[in-house]
């Protein structure tokens, strides 16, 4: 066990620092350019240097580096220090690109990957429907072939980023006569067309992070499907796997603690800082125990991943654990803010602890429920852990619906 990066990585860190010193922020001549062009130019150079788009082949605009989680960490740390542009965050780079690499045709890769990596086109994900949440495969949005085009009708929901997306990667029922999992195709759809309407969905916090997307005779070319017709379910599993096993930033595991402690320091109980109250101290330390255990579990996963060794069932647990911890944090925060628990949520979530305004914590209190609901509800997570992790038999109901 060794928690240092080691010499080789510290040397690599120096390289990255030197690159950044040279290239970011842009030198005078480049600083004249529009911001977008500055970023493009920087990203080109960072790709050339092997710092961005590391897992992507060069021919599609990547730098084609061997996987190395530690190098990636070092790059992330140094880039973030200077707020240098990194790979665009989002579903395009995170989900679509890996899927295209694995299942896309050559022209699809050529057309979509490079501009996605450069942040020139943005994607949203069209999976969930109002009637299809946990039971995603029951989706009803239908695509019918009319000549050289698919004509798409139906409704998607929980589509984050739809209001700014250029394209949607979307699950569409194209073979209605097939059993439910076999009738779906994975389709790419241009969002800038009359048949697509995006309506923001307001959350209970008042924020609008999600959308509904309505397809009314929306169209997409016949060959804008990834994989074969009717294979969309399997194709989408490729990306879901990416989504669920994607190692989140380890720091997130304990990231909420300092803000919570700060809140406890500045909140009063009976005229004294709440952090002096035995109940608060116990609860904080209890939460820290959970966070730390989870944090080291994530280090272990990262290490095993780097070694190419299976980390076991702990891999299935990160989301559920995080959503449980987040709820405990939010509940303690609600105890600490006292009368401000009467206020509407607002502004930044509580993690960015700001003494002037407890409304971020109110939003966190509501938002902490989101983790138990979004991207595989906690009940679904428990099923997965029980069945895949502990080897328990499948549910009757789920079997029945096969």
């Amino acid at each position: 066990m060794d928690l240092s990066y080691g010499e080789a990585y510290e040397a690599f860190r120096k390289e990255v620092q030197a690159f950044l010193a040279e290239n970011w922020p842009p030198r005078a001549e480049a600083a004249e350019l529009p911001r977008k062009d500055q970023v493009d130019r920087f990203r080109d150079r960072a790709v050339d240097a092997g710092y961005l788009a590391r897992s992507i082949p060069r021919k599609y605009g990547g730098s084609e580096q061997p996987p190395d989680a530690l190098r990636a960490s070092v790059i992330g740390e140094e880039f973030r220090k200077l707020r240098a542009p990194m790979d665009p965050v989002g579903l395009g780079v995170g989900l679509l690109v890996p899927t295209l690499l694995e299942r896309g045709t050559d022209w699809q890769k050529e057309k979509f990957i490079r501009p996605t990596l450069r942040g020139h086109i943005r994607w949203c994900q069209g999976y969930s429907e109002p009637g299809s949440g946990s039971d995603l495969a029951s989706l009803q949005t239908k695509g019918e072939l009319a000549g050289d085009e698919w004509v798409i009708n139906g409704q998607k929901i929980w589509t984050s980023g739809a209001q700014i997306a250029d394209y949607c990667f979307c699950l569409v029922r194209t073979e209605p006569e097939q059993p439910k999992h076999a009738g779906i195709s994975y389709m790419l759809i241009d969002m800038h067309q009359p048949g697509v309407e995006v309506r923001p969905l307001r959350q209970m916090t008042g924020h609008s992070g999600f959308n509904e997307v309505f397809f009314t005779d929306a169209r997409t070319p016949k060959d804008w499907i990834v994989g074969e017709r009717g294979e969309g379910w399997l194709v989408s599993r490729t990306t879901l796997k990416h989504e669920r096993s994607g190692l989140m930033n380890v720091g997130q595991a304990t990231g909420q603690l300092p803000a919570l402690v700060k809140l406890a320091r500045r909140s009063l109980r009976d005229g004294r800082p709440a952090v002096e109250d035995p109940e608060v101290r116990q609860k904080l330390a209890e939460i820290e125990g959970y966070m730390k255990a989870n944090e080291y579990a994530l280090y272990y996963r990262a290490t095993r991943g780097r070694k190419g060794r299976d980390a076991g069932r702990i891999q299935l647990m990160a989301k559920l654990i995080r959503s449980e911890i987040t709820q405990e944090v939010a509940k303690l925060a609600m105890e600490l803010i006292g009368d401000d628990g009467l206020l509407a949520g607002g502004g930044e979530l509580g993690m960015r602890e700001r003494p002037s305004d407890n409304r971020g914590w109110v939003s966190s209190y509501m938002g902490s429920l989101g983790g138990a609901i979004a991207a595989g509800s906690s009940n679904i997570q428990r099923n997965v852990i029980g069945e895949r992790g502990l080897g328990l038999p499948r549910d009757w109901a789920a079997q029945r619906s096969k």
Binding site: G133, S138, Q203, M204, L268, G370, A397
Partner: protein
């Protein structure tokens, strides 16, 4: 021994439920929720017309002459329907005048409050909590200076009962000079709050204030508890209904044992609260020795249960429960109000500990 509500009380609840159902279905709640004032004069008028402005005010002063238990039963129904408006503050203002006012003050104000000719509210909280009478610091001497926080419908009320130093109570008419209110951007948009500043506003003491202010607070704790029980029961009911209709994997999700057990766990939390609230109100009316402590324990318990039940109900509803469009979020925010208003559960559990001699 008869631990049950009477037939008259069942009828009272049926009446209020029907009224709420007719005058204030959830579609209407939502309009008011999304509106500017959080108040619908027509709706309020219809509540007042059946006597809900003065349920616990004696008949000689134009009220219905009932007890706090009856008022709590009303509050439960209003909570269950998430009825927006000034019922809570108005009821407490009436009780404050009744418990602490001179004959003259009662004669002057109670009929107008009972009939709804005047709207009343109470101003208790001060900066950094301070909901309890022994925490109040404003000094009144014919005039009043200082700020009260979280005053329900402070900007709409005609009469504010303000808590002052040493647990006193004074009346302030908002028409007077020197009263200013600033709206609070509260979570619960069915019960709006204002911060109210008094800058030399003229006021009139309620003579028995120091003796009665604790009772007014206790009545408030019980009304909040009743609202919380109503809201919790409704949150549960919504979750059960959702589980019976929402289909996943070819069946309604109520078939899944995980959901079924979540709902059963919610039910064993919620259902007993009804009887605790009854007892707290009964003790307020008839068991003076237990009244204060039971009110404190009940407020802590009932509003905690409501808050957790509302959270659980959102979770059962899944994504849709998390949206502004879903009615359960309205109950969630009422739970936030009930939980924090007049002091969080922790405050009242500590009070119960002290009152229990622990």
């Amino acid at each position: 021994m008869d631990f049950d509500i009477s037939e008259e009380q069942e009828l009272l609840q049926a009446t209020v439920r029907q009224l709420a159902g007719n005058e204030c279905p959830l579609t209407r709640v939502r309009e008011i929720f999304d509106g500017d004032s959080g108040h619908d004069p027509e709706l309020w008028k219809s509540l007042v017309e059946v006597g809900l402005g003065g349920t616990a005010i004696p008949e000689e002063f134009g009220g219905a002459g009932l007890e706090l238990l009856d008022l709590a039963l009303v509050a439960e129904c209003l909570g269950s329907a998430a009825v927006p408006g000034p019922f809570l503050g108005h009821s407490l203002a009436g009780l404050a005048v009744l418990f602490a006012g001179s004959e003259e003050q009662k004669k002057s104000w109670l009929p107008r409050l009972a009939m709804g000719d005047a709207l009343g509210t109470v101003a208790f909280a001060e900066e950094g909590s301070g909901w309890q009478p022994n925490e109040w610091t404003l000094r009144a001497n014919g005039t009043l200076r200082g700020t009260k926080q979280h005053v329900p419908y402070g900007s709409l009320a005609d009469l504010i009962v303000v808590g002052t130093a040493d647990g006193g109570l004074v009346l302030v008419e908002t028409a007077a000079d020197g009263v200013q209110s600033e709206p609070v951007d509260g979570a619960d948009r069915t019960r709006r709050l204002d911060h109210v500043s008094f800058d030399g506003a003229s006021c009139e003491a309620l003579p028995a204030g120091p003796q009665a202010s604790g009772r007014v607070r206790d009545a408030g704790l019980i009304l909040l508890s009743a609202d919380a029980y109503g809201g919790a029961a409704r949150s549960l009911e919504m979750a059960v209904e959702y589980a019976k209709t929402r289909q996943q994997f070819g069946v309604t999700i109520g078939h899944f044992q995980a959901i079924k057990h979540q709902l059963a766990n919610m039910a064993i939390e919620v259902d007993p609260v009804r009887f605790l609230v009854w007892y707290a109100a009964h003790a307020f009316d008839h068991v003076p020795d237990e009244s204060e402590r039971t009110a404190a324990l009940t407020k802590a318990h009932a509003t905690s249960v409501f808050m957790q039940t509302a959270r659980d109900s959102v979770e059962v509803h899944g994504g849709i429960g998390y949206t502004w469009e879903c009615d359960v979020q309205i109950l969630f925010k009422r739970a936030m109000f009930d939980r924090a208003f007049l002091g969080a559960p922790r405050v009242h559990r500590e009070r119960a500990a002290v009152l229990g001699g622990w």
